[in-house]
Amino acid sequence: MNPAAPTVLIADDHAGFRSCMRDVCQSIGAEVLECETGEEAVEHFLRTRPNWVLMDLEMEGMGGIEATREIMNSSSEARVIVVTNHDGEEQRAAAYEAGAWNYVNKDNFLSVRQILAETE
């Protein structure tokens, strides 16, 4: 594993979009881990401590907001970027309130590369 390469945990229940996100992250050299639910995301995070978590909001079981709160509770260093198909103010506020680093709409997903690059 390249120690300089950032690790990104992708949590999304849509396989197609997960695949798209993986390709984008890998295109900037990140190492990618994937999961489909909030619980898996928390579990993977606690085990692998990735640099970034790309968190979808609506998943089966534990939702993205709650999973973000769990992760942030376990490590204040964690960086969770909420990547979602919802653009409502309420969701955005809830995500930031849970401790999210950033909030990215899926139709503008490519902007995540910039966020990852700027904050490295």
């Binding site: 979009f17 798209c20 390709d23 609506e58 198909n85 309420e90 899926k106 139709d107 997903f109």
Partner: protein
Amino acid sequence: MRGVLVVFLTLHLLLVEGLGVEFTREVVGPRAGIPGGVTGVVQDSRGFYWVATIRGLARFDGAGWQMFTSEAYPILETDNIMCICLDDADALWIFNLLGQVLKLDNGSMEEVTRVAMNNRDVSKMELGPKGMIWCQFRESGEVVMLSDGEFSNAEVEDEAGRIVDFIRDRAGDFWIQTREEVGLWTGRKFEFFSPPNLEDDAVSAIRADAEEGLVVRINRGREVEFLRATASGFKSEPPGERLEWMQSYFVASDGAMWITTPEESVYRREVGGDFEFAGRHHNRIVRYFEDRYGNLLIYTDRLVPMRVFRRRDPAVQSLLDFELLITRWSSRDNARNLGDWNAGNEVELGLGDRRLEIHFGALGPSAPGEYQLETRMKNEEKDWTMVSAGTRVQSYDNLPPGSYLFEVRGKAGGDTEFSQTASLSFAVPYYYWETLWFRALVVGAAFFLGAVALLWRKKALRERRVLERHHALQLANSQEEERKRIAAEMHDSLGQNLLVIQNRSQLGAEDAGDETTRQQFRQLSDVAKEAVAELRSIVKDLRPVHFSEVGLTSSLRSMASRLLDAAGMRFEDKLVPLENLYTEDKAMQIFRIVQEALNNAARHSGASVVELASSVEERKVIVTVTDDGGGFSTDEARSGQGLSNMRERATLIGGEVAFDTGEKGTSVRLELPRTSALS
């Protein structure tokens, strides 16, 4: 001398008859329905005439003679009746030729005693002191008493053989007569009175007086004197010019005296007046009877009809000589004869007894066809019904329940006024189902049941409407659920795929080696982006995002903002919080109504400003959507589905929608009851 007497009598007759005949003589015999051979006449306290004949007993009932013979009363061994009398209780005592003494009481006949007659014939009987039956033999004139089935003189042993006559006066006192004196029964013994200055065997006859005592005839040589005897002594009766020719005499109830003369004439004299000619009588007169109306009945011991001398007083308006009476009534279940009911009381028939027959008439033993009768049943008939001659009965079938007064009135015919009436009131009882209270109860019960049925029906209708509304709401909810499911499906599946396409197209454009390919990827990305936007709009229409979480007010606000922004109209937000007023189902219906109204405004009004306002009052909640557009016509509104959808949704949640449209814009007003929290 005899010629002078005849001339005198003839002149007198002409004079009397010329002045106006006060008496009419009628023959009452077989033609009238009563046999000849009359042996006795009495009139009971009710007014019925009882006539004993050698062919049975007869009673006049107002219309005709009713016979009481052995045919109807087998106990009567012969119809040949020797004499009759009445006791204090109005029972009729009968003595027949075979020695039977019978009592007829209220229609039933019983034998009291029986005596061996041994070819003797009794001409007179009376109930004397101590209940003894006094009799007089016809041939010998001997007076005897009937005791234990034997004739004897035990009770008046001292006077036995001296007694020539006995009589019960109108006061009920019992008198006996000897040739020398008269005796009055005082309760224990006879007290005798001897008329003053009496010669031997001077007392010749006694008759009952009008009120009390009796009139005693005294023979004083060729002269005849009458004394009125009472318990206090004798009083002389003024002599009359005709007394010297008198053959027999009779004292009437009003004190008047009747006499017959050898020339077969009958005279009558009022108290203090002169004798007046009453009529002729050709047969030997055996007995007289004067009824309570002053009419004289004469009968003989031969087979000749009875004569009735009817007194007619021109001074009295009534030309009826006898009292008009109701003599009998009978119904299906009952029959009563005169005297068996109290005339003052109402007769009540039995339940269901609706048939009535009423007999009536004047109880005079003379031609009943002479007078005219009319009847009327008050409460049933308005007019009087004339009764045909000879008919003395009126029948009614199936009388309705109620109170009635039967009336009969009579007059002597011609133009005379009706002079006598008799009446009988009676009641036909109601069956309980015919009574007013029962009918009122039935009507009341019908009303009550009707009211209950109406209330029940209203309640059922209300419950049905509630149920229908509930079902409709359930249907609407399931539609909402379906929309929600479709929206989620589109958002999470189709939307995500479009986003994949969009993002990968962008990646493709970045990685493309030539400009043409890059352009194509960009176009693909734009199309995908547009599709995502459209899809999001559709999804929001289908189901407001996070409706449950954000609540009605925010959902309304964001929906209005989105719709009006898209239409280029300004949104005037005057919403007050509507949370916690209604359940989510109802809140969703409110949302849909407002959504419909805002859609209409956005699409059709051409308005520049649209106001969405709400207010929460004590009893109601009002939400209005007002635009400043051009309005719409009622016809357009009717044809549109939107308005009717709004109304239906409002009804589902117990509210109403009102529309107000005109040139200055349109206002849609939704009014809902504010019941309880989350109702």
